[in-house]
Symmetry: D2
Subunit: 347 residues, 4 copies
């Protein structure tokens, strides 16, 4: 913590701040310049001072926190990249991992067909919603455990791993039977009781960034999970809320290099929720890989005839296949690769 | 839903959109102008179309939702103001209700002293944190049930009602024994499983606005509680996240007249979290009442000697008392009042 | 400037940073704690270092600027409140000054009638647009010099001062003949050539806050004017751009106490542009005065029959008169007053 | 314009709105559904109604504008991509055009050396600041015309075109002698008098997006230039202001596909100002090209020894050269190319 005193601060005011900090257990270093006295408070105090409280002392102009409050997620704690094992699929290694599937799981047939097609195009993980967080209580809330069973069966058929969203600590135990990775949605990024419970499991967690969460807050939410003993966390950028309304959210791709510098955890990008429009998903998916993402989360939809009730942000299978081909050209620029497409038996 | 076609849209494109809407069960009305064809889709369809999906049809330029998705919280459903009974204290009626107390409940003595002082100044509800949502897992997480017991005892001594935050559906049952109102924090505004459980209780709920929630999303979260059968909801504006960092958040006081027009639910304001700085709390508390708030949620702190670990946003008892006096002058401009201060026996 | 080194920074890295700072003319103070080495760079260097450049040195984690870059607008430079003389009307003194008038000046009759009515209700300054900054090139751009002449005549008849917006340095000379105060609109807050020219005049300037300007940037724009030798600047909060779209902008009333603490310049509030809706203007005008504003800028409209082409944010004369009465009750809470309404001859 | 009436709106209220619209010259179409009456107002009225004014009519719930107010910049007006000729360099065609150079032009030697190196790496345009918009009046404001002369000489030596920022209408005439493209900075995006003057020239204009400008507002600012008769406009995304502070701004790459759909004008990206940090520039430059940008604006810096006073966002020549090589791999995925690097004589 660095304390900047007002230009006209008296010696008595400076002493009062120093005393309070020393009493709390800080080592205090003082720099007096022509304009300002600056105090550096370091060490491991027995009472952690709230910077805003120090700011209330007379004569103090500004207080700046310096210790990033996260530890386990930081590069200082662990220098090398973490590779997360998602049911055998490695996220954060040389391969760009694509997770694809429907927004909501609707029927066994739907998820089965989508699973086959995305697997053939080179996806490694099946994504799909069984419990859906909906802004309105009157919207469809998901098929629950049934949907999870369908996803598991599909994944086993198609050689995929499974990721699906958990919304309530009471769902975790049941979900562990079906999924390889528990997804925490943007709205629950600071649902701390949920994060604590996930820290007690040993299953991979995909933690989406909250709509208005700074990167620091996002890393601190990951810290909740790591602090519980579960190191298997994948971060997922999915757009932040800004004034711009031409897209659903503003996909913050610069979060990729920022996270890569601060943390050892892998980061993937969800351009489907980030943009909310199919024709924006493809360019932003390419851009995410070009910016260094470890993977993508993409909504794919199999049945154009029912587009009315389906997401406008879902790609058609042939669009997805084309995109995967484009990514195979871009990834090597960053020293990475994507799995080859399998030629499907009868297409 | 209103669909605006591109200027050059063909008749076949227009027909394709109309067919899809009719198939879904909409009544479709068509307006053809010189520049644009506009389709109005009304009625109660059997499949609710996602506006963004319609936007993907060729020839469509823009799709605009028109039905506000909330029902029970709207003025159309219930014209008259709702008055929420918070353990005998009426919020939303002629009295401006002030809820005051410490950020965290620390000791029985602390909360007892603060309860007495805020009650003497005219507060009607004791607020205090027993479970604390903390950005970092290493910060103090609250004294839990013990803190709730201390709050209940204090409130009974001082003639106050009790409000405290709930973070997890599994805490509700226990908390109902101690509190008159369950508070949902900003971070949990879209924790839908928690909202559903609160809809099943018959206890008053104070629902804070999420940091990046639009007013519409906030009302939809309230709708979750009302849809469960619990009509006793108080909304609480506590600041939104913007680019400005001179204050902790930007208190959006214009939310008060907006909510008052759209909804019958009462709205209170929390200037302590909204600004994060003691010297900003007082002017913003006055402003909130001048703008028409039904009440305030204010942090009050009794012990200036331990300011180091306490909130910089807490008022000292004498500041709180002065503020209450100022509010008694402002409230009558809006046809409202605050309770008189009791002259304490030995101050 | 405070430089925080990485936890694992080497001594060589620390020395490299110190050398660069010393070479630039800084006094450098070093604090070494258990976790971090912190460097304080103070003094008056001959080369001002860009904090972001220092951040690029190996081993540096964070660089924090400490010297607020504004001087003349700060409380450190001038402790007492500045009172701006706006054609005989004093802004920043004990009186809350209300500036009222039409959005655009349309006819001599219109502005004449509005001038009389707002003056009778207690306004002291006539506001009105002669040059209009319009988002679209196809919107009405104002009546220019003719409108200014009408405003001057009206103001002289009704005992008011005149404020109107300047958009281009080439307009200043002509405008000085008509107005008592030159307004800089939000879109031009960082039109630095315009600000420099205004610094060369000795006329009062009303500087609106930019839509996405931090309070620090706003004060720095005021600094441009003061640095030119013109100390007569009134700041005007008029709403910032956020994600919320229920109001046109988000009126940031907490800017009032923030500005009051940092600067000696007076601050007024424009709730008309800040909210964009007539029914929100009245509560926010009351709130602004309750929060400590030195004045208000309010659009008033005289002719309800042509509401179609006029601003939805303009008050009707009787609404304005009622509002002024309410403000006369609120202002004394802050030790201030408003002028009494004159009983008009024939109303 | 589409007007949505309240659920309980009376027939008289509906008629009043229709009358006002018809009087203004609109064709009005009415749709009455079970819940809402919806009015579509189309045609070319003689009085353009302000949607917010209509919203003030009793019984009206919401008014939605449908005609995008821009014309000449839209795809409806001109379907095919516009290719802007920037002193012989074509922006918007098959080549990805890179504009590179120093933030500020400091000396003839500096700009000469940078010009040579960026040209050798494949840049086609020299960028550099002669007039600098600075937040503080005490910061370096640029070398003015001298800097422009140096840039012109450098460009002629190295086979480059020149782009530089104009801040004031009074600078245009002089600048036309030196530059191939006049840049409008983010802070001047809505300096309408400047835009009008640029519309009267026949020189290419590079229009940066304002920090808090929506894409629609940005296109409307371009419309000011086109409406003056100058069709040679290049748009430039350079980051928007959000709550996130890990980067200087948030680069909104999704603006690329949005602009491409709505407008025929080319769009380039400035990752240097968009991120403000050298190590973020490279990934975001790659991402911009992958997302479909027609070009890039990149700061390159030649002298690492004076990093203290130079921009932390400038690339070193060898970083720039490596980046250009990466872009040559990515561009073909979108059917585009970059010029080859020339092998410099003595490097």
């Amino acid at each position: 913590m660095v304390i900047v005193m007002e230009q006209g601060a008296t010696e008595a005011q400076v002493q009062k701040v120093i005393e309070a900090l020393v009493e709390a257990g800080y080592d205090v270093h003082r720099s007096s310049g022509v304009q300002h006295t600056v105090l550096g408070a370091v060490g491991t105090p027995h009472v952690v001072a709230d910077p805003r409280s120090i700011e209330m002392f007379p004569g103090v102009r500004e207080v700046i926190k310096i210790s990033e409050p996260y530890k386990l997620v930081g590069r200082t704690f662990k220098h090398d990249d973490t590779i997360v094992d998602l049911g055998g699929v490695l996220v954060g290694g040389p391969e760009v991992v694509v997770m694809a599937g429907p927004c909501s799981v609707e029927t066994r047939e739907q998820v089965g067909a989508i699973g086959q097609t995305v697997s053939a195009s080179g996806a490694r993980v099946l994504r799909g919603g069984a419990f859906k967080p909906r802004t309105s209580p009157y919207s469809f809330q998901g098929h629950g455990e049934t949907a999870l069973r369908w996803m598991r069966e599909t994944a086993d058929e198609s050689g995929l791993a499974v990721v699906s969203e958990v919304m309530d600590p009471r769902q975790i135990e049941m979900m562990l039977r079906y999924v390889d990775c528990l997804q925490v949605g943007a709205r629950n990024m600071q649902n701390f009781d949920l994060l604590k419970e996930l820290g007690r499991t040993r299953k991979a967690v995909l933690l989406k960034r909250g709509l208005s969460a700074t990167i620091e807050e996002w890393l601190l939410s990951a810290e909740y999970i790591l602090a519980g003993g579960n190191m298997q966390v994948v971060l997922c950028e999915r757009g932040i809320r800004t004034f711009e309304n031409a897209t659903r959210n503003t996909l913050d791709l610069s979060a990729i290099p920022v996270v890569k510098k601060r943390s050892h955890l892998p980061i993937v990008v969800d351009p489907s929720h980030g943009t909310g429009r199919r024709d924006k998903v493809i360019p932003m998916a390419r851009a995410a890989v070009a910016a260094g993402a470890d993977g993508l989360l993409i909504e794919v939809h199999n049945d154009p005839d029912h587009a009315l009730s389906d997401g406008a942000q879902s790609l058609f299978p042939e669009q997805f296949d084309t995109l995967m081909g484009e990514l195979r050209v871009i990834a090597p620029v960053l020293g990475r690769s994507l799995p080859l497409a399998r030629v499907p038996a009868q297409r």
